[in-house]
Symmetry: C2
Subunit: 213 residues, 2 copies
Amino acid sequence: MNVLVIGATGGVGKHLLPLLADQHQVVAMARSDAQLAAFEAKGVDAVAASLEQPVSQLAAAMAGMDAVVFSAGSGGATGSDKTLLIDLDGAVKAMEAAKASGATRFLMVSAIQAHHRPNWNESLLPYYAAKHYADRELMASGLAYTIVRPALLKDEPGTGLITAAKDITSGGAIARQDVARVLAACLDTPHTQGQAFDLISGETPIPQALAAL
Amino acid sequence: MNVLVIGATGGVGKHLLPLLADQHQVVAMARSDAQLAAFEAKGVDAVAASLEQPVSQLAAAMAGMDAVVFSAGSGGATGSDKTLLIDLDGAVKAMEAAKASGATRFLMVSAIQAHHRPNWNESLLPYYAAKHYADRELMASGLAYTIVRPALLKDEPGTGLITAAKDITSGGAIARQDVARVLAACLDTPHTQGQAFDLISGETPIPQALAAL
C-alpha cells in the first residue's frame, strides 16, 4: 500500500516510518521546508502539506495514497485554539481529503477512553473533547477506519505485548514504539477495519490481541 | 410547549425570554445561584444547571421540557478551552440530555456560514470550528432541530425584516432582537424542523421568510 503518515515527526510517527517501510510505500507529510529537507536527508519520501491548509491542498498531497495514518497532535506547547484547529478540524480535513483523493483506509491515534466522556482525563478535557469529536466524525465518514486509543504514552522501548479492548478502565500506559507497532499491524489486519479500541501495555502479542478484537 | 432556554442571560437570550413567554412555558437555565436569584426576582422560572456538568444533571434540569433553545456561548472573554467545552461539548451534552429527558425539539444559534469551512471568519476560526461540529452533531442527533446561523450580531433594535437562506455569502448583520424573534417563530413553525439557514437583516417579514425556506 501507499501510506501517508501525518505526524511523522511525532513520538509515535518516528517509530512508525521504519516499521511501515518494510511492507509499504511510505510518505511522510511535512509541514515546513525544513521538515521536508530533513525527511529527504534520511531517505524518507515526503510531501509538503499542513493540516491548516484547505482540504484541496491536503487532497493533492494524498494523490495516489491507499491509506492515511493520523498520528499528529497539536501538543501541549500550543493553546486550545490549535487543539480545535489541528486535533479536531485538521483531522476531519484529512478525512475529507482522503475521501476526495481516493484513499480508503484511515488509521487514527486517539486517546484512551476518548469515546466515554465521564472517563476523560480531567486535566486534558479540551484535548479529549477534540479527540472525541474527531473520532466520531471518522466513524461516520464512510472510510475504512481503525481508531487506536492508547493510554499514557511512554518513551521507553516497547515489549510487543499489549492489551487491546473496547473499554479499558484500569488505567495503564504504553510505549510509543508499541503504539507504532500496533498501527503497522492494523494496516495489515483487515479485521481491524471499523474497530475502535483502548490500548495499554499487556501480556498478549500484538497479532493475537488484534485478532481477538 | 415547555421550553428551556440555555444562554438566557446572553444578548439573544434576554430578548428571547419575554417573546417566548407569550406562547409557552419558559424556563431559563441558570449556572449560578446569583443567576437563579436574578431570574426569580424578575418572575422568570429558572433551573440551576451548567453545561460543564454531566449529561445526567442536564437531563434532570430538562425534565418535562418539550423544547430546548441553545443560545449559549463561551464568549470572547474566555479561551479556546471553553470554546471546546461549552460551544462544542456543552452543546452536544445538551443534545444528549434533551434526548434522555424526552425533549424532542432543539433550536441552535450558530454562526453564518458555519457549515462551509472556506467561509469561516478568519479571526474566529476556533469558534467557527466548535460551532461547525456542534451543528453536525445536532443534524445527526435524531432531534427535531432548527439551526439558525446569524451574521454579525448588533445590539440595535430589530426591524422584524430578514433574509433567511441556506447560503448567504454577501455578508451582512442582524439585530439580536431579530434573532430572538426568528427563534420564537421557528418554535411555532414546524416547517423549520430539520432546517439550517443563514440569517441577516433584510426586507422580508419573519413568518414569510421562514415559510419560504
